[in-house]
Amino acid sequence: MKKILTGSLLALLLLITTACGNQSSAEGGEIFEYGGQKNTDPKIMGQIVKLLVEDQTIHEVNITEDIPASPQVMGAIDRGEFDFATLYSGEVYNNHFDEDQVTYSTDPEKTLNQAQALFGEKYDMKWYDSIGFSNQYSIAIKRDFAEENNVETMSDLGDYANDLTLGTDNSWIERANDGYEGYQDTYGYSFGDARGMDVALMYEGIASGDLDVVTAYTVDPQIVEYDLKILEDDQKFFPPYDASLVARNEVIDEYPEIAEILDSIVGMITTEEMTELMYEVDIKKRSIEEVAREFLEEKGLL
């Protein structure tokens, strides 16, 4: 028995060590690493980068998905574990820099400029201009509730907030600038209850009636699917989260063909288009690769 156990363990060890050897792509190029967070849009962007790179160059791209959040992706870029990722401009306000380095603003351009300069230097990477879609926090409620009570703006919601349960991701409640505390200060009301959870579940919660209000991300297709209404941010509280690709400088300096592809993705996808792509994946349950390929073919890029 013992022999079998040690034998199979050794076999396993061997299997892994051989599998982890230094690799190069089938055509003799490099294998680059793309890291994606838990949400669907960076996963789609990963496939788009992968398809374009593998179509136009001899290199390959390997995608790692479901990293909990952007800070962990940045850490991995810092350690050289990821070469590319999709990040959001508003991330620059999230506790990465001292208060004297960064000036809080809800202006998209100021935010992007700061993200490009500060993160670019901190992690030795290039932060591209926006891909064209924005995935910022917003407050969403059920459309019929909004129409019944004539709620158009976030200020309007104040009259009902006491009886409503808010569902949000785990960090929004604790965020300093653009979190719940700041929201209460700006809009002058708080919700009856506020619960943190995995983002995907937040939508199931509002669909099933467990929740009344969610901090939806503007690009999410569930807003369409569950007939939610995004309220107007009349006090300009939420900072922009414009999506950009990022790449390690080392990689784009050495491989100009990669830099060219990443450049071409700037301005490629609008928020509406990304929502449609995500609808195919999240709601229709189609594979991310298939959806990304179809999109690129339609645009004549593949």
Partner: protein, 213 residues
């Protein structure tokens, strides 16, 4: 030094919400533990009187399967069935607590010397009298040690409830992960450990008391 002052500032800033998370964590854990005691202890007693070995094994096997389902998976499976929030969190954790409690109570009562039971029968104790006067007190140390082990695990697992909107210290850990704040991650972790250790200590004292008695 700066680390410490930073950390103190963090507590001053957040102690309100830290207390809330701790409170939620305790509520979830205690409800789970109470529920599982209410269900398991009578079940285990009933099982010691059961003649049908097959059904007995079946119950043990079912409880065992629940314990082998990965925690994340069990929580995820709960969502389509029970939605999000407090109830599915409690349910999932309750299923985990079943086996250790069931096993310990069962072994506890089974381990009582049959001669004592026989003697009690001879003295004219009824079944219930025997149960409450002799068998349960004798099994108590086992039950307590089951409760102790289970409690410690439940405290640790409750952090995962934050994934499905159950609240608790997991919220703080996950917020730290999402918001790039190590203070939050460490605070959530350390508080969960401290609570588990304190409860372990308290239950350990009880256990000793009962086993001496």
């Amino acid at each position: 030094m700066e680390l410490i002052t930073d950390y103190i500032a963090f507590w001053q800033d957040k102690y309100d919400s830290i207390l809330t998370y701790t409170y939620e964590h305790l509520v979830i854990s205690f409800v789970v533990i109470l529920l599982s005691i209410i269900v398991t202890v009578p079940l285990a007693i009933y099982m010691t009187k059961m003649k049908n070995e097959k059904i007995k094994n079946l119950i043990f096997n079912i409880a065992n399967v629940f314990q082998t389902i990965p925690t994340v998976a069990l929580l995820a499976i709960m969502i389509p069935l029970l939605g999000i929030g407090f109830i599915p969190s409690i349910t999932a954790l309750f299923l985990y607590a079943l086996l250790p409690l069931l096993r310990n109570t069962y072994t506890g009562i089974k381990s009582i010397d049959p001669s004592i039971v026989e003697a009690a029968k001879g003295m004219g104790f009824s079944t219930f009298g025997r149960l409450f006067k002799i068998e349960l007190p004798a099994a108590l140390p086992y039950v307590m040690s089951g409760i102790r082990v289970t409690t410690v695990y439940i405290i640790s697992w409750t952090t995962l409830a934050a994934l499905i909107g159950g609240g608790g210290l997991g919220d703080l850990v996950l917020a730290g992960i999402g918001y790039n704040d190590k203070h939050m991650i460490f605070t959530g972790t350390i508080l969960a450990i401290v609570i588990a250790l304190i409860l372990d200590l308290i239950f350990g004292k009880f256990e000793k008391k009962f086993s001496k008695a």
